[in-house]
């Protein structure tokens, strides 16, 4: 569910580090370098990359098109091909029979079976289009925060890695400990107490 959905999920991040000036050009460069590459016509089973918020199936980052007010708004797209296991089984059985007939044998080695399975998956991957999943994000560069519109573990891990590669900045996920440490204006003494606290028991 994206930013414009009537009901959203949000994971919040602190952005650590500074971008090289001019900032907008640096962001554009990072987005272009890691723009999503279509895999419908190749054997890859999965891909991920940046795409445009307004046009996720035709990414274009020219002309600061990702800038809305003070925010950078763009999307992470993860495309994955899911081949139903029964289809793999069917073509694997057909290929195995063909190979046995050609070689006039009754059994195939474990390695041959493995190679046939890989071949079947590769051939099917060329025929099955990837399913796109789009996750919007909003980055307030001036205030060093980023909101990612998903709580899915895999999508969060993907954005943390891709963001770091694209912009050479670190995303720190905000959860109870990091919120206390980074957003609650703690003193050194408070931090010391925080590092030593253990769970409370509310009832005797």
């Amino acid at each position: 569910m994206g930013l414009l959905s009537p009901s959203v999920s949000i994971t919040r991040y602190r952005v650590e580090g500074k971008l090289e000036d001019p900032v907008i050009e640096t962001v554009t460069r990072g987005l272009k370098k890691y723009t999503l590459r279509e895999i419908d016509k190749d054997e890859a089973e999965k891909t991920s990359g940046w795409t445009s918020f307004n046009n996720p199936f035709k990414p274009d980052f020219d002309g600061s098109s990702f800038l809305i007010g003070n925010y950078f708004v763009f999307s992470l797209r993860i495309d994955k091909k899911s081949i139903p296991s029964k289809i793999i089984q069917k073509y694997y059985a057909l290929e195995t029979s063909k190979k046995l007939a050609e070689s006039n044998r009754e059994f195939l080695s474990r390695n041959e079976k493995k190679l046939i399975k890989e071949h079947v998956i590769n051939v099917l991957s060329l025929r099955i289009p990837a399913t796109p999943n789009i996750y919007d994000l909003v980055w307030n560069y001036e205030k060093n925060y980023l909101w990612f519109f998903s709580n899915l573990k895999t999508a969060n891990e993907e954005i943390e890695t891709l963001f770091s590669k694209s912009f050479k900045l670190t995303l720190i996920r905000l959860f109870p400990y990091t919120m206390a440490d980074l957003t609650c204006s703690l003193s050194d003494a408070d931090r010391d107490v925080l590092s030593k606290i253990s769970p409370s028991e509310f009832t005797r």
Partner: protein, 178 residues
């Protein structure tokens, strides 16, 4: 700072304690729930509470759902040592209303619904809608951050042990009697 994944797992309890304290404060210590700008607001439990008891070896989980659900099971669970791990909250300022779920371990938002926004009639109005929605999301983030800060300021002092925990204990006992 600690390694992030270590910190996440080691301090999961902090978010659960925050939600437990928040439920208590909404019922018994409402005056403490303020915002820095002193803007009047209300916050209350919506239609879902999840509690978990991780003190015993097996994790016991209780989910209370429904708009007018009774909370007796929740108090019983708290009495047995459970904490709140997820809450559905309704936040109101004036005639504007937000609804959202928040999980203790991550403090992430899900199912977040905000007050009505303007209607978009053409593509070039989308940017305005994005800014309006972000403003509305920020209101929720601000209130949660503000309440979490109040909790942390208490949690890191002796007052937590001497005043807050006994008060929460009394609240749990009184909840069981009602």
């Amino acid at each position: 700072m600690l390694d992030i994944s270590v910190a996440y797992n080691r301090y999961k309890f902090l978010g659960d304690e925050f939600l437990t304290w928040l439920w208590f404060s909404m019922e018994k210590d409402r005056d403490r729930l303020t915002t820095p700008d002193k803007e009047p607001f209300s916050i209350e439990i919506g239609n879902r509470i999840v509690l978990e008891n991780r003190i015993s070896e097996a994790v016991e989980s209780i989910t209370i759902k429904g708009d007018d659900a009774g909370l007796e099971e929740g108090f019983l669970s708290l009495k047995k040592g459970a904490v709140v791990t997820e809450l559905n909250l309704i936040y109101k300022v004036g005639n504007q209303e937000w609804k959202f779920n928040i999980k203790g371990e991550s403090l992430c938002f899900s199912g977040l619904k905000h007050p009505d926004t303007g209607v978009v009639e053409s593509g070039d109005q989308v940017d305005g809608l994005v800014i309006e929605k972000l403003f509305l999301f920020e209101k929720v983030a601000d209130i949660v951050d503000g309440l979490f800060k109040i909790f942390i300021d208490l949690r890191l002092t002796d007052k937590w042990r001497t005043d807050v925990i006994p008060a929460i204990d009394r609240w749990i006992q009184s909840g069981l009697k009602n």
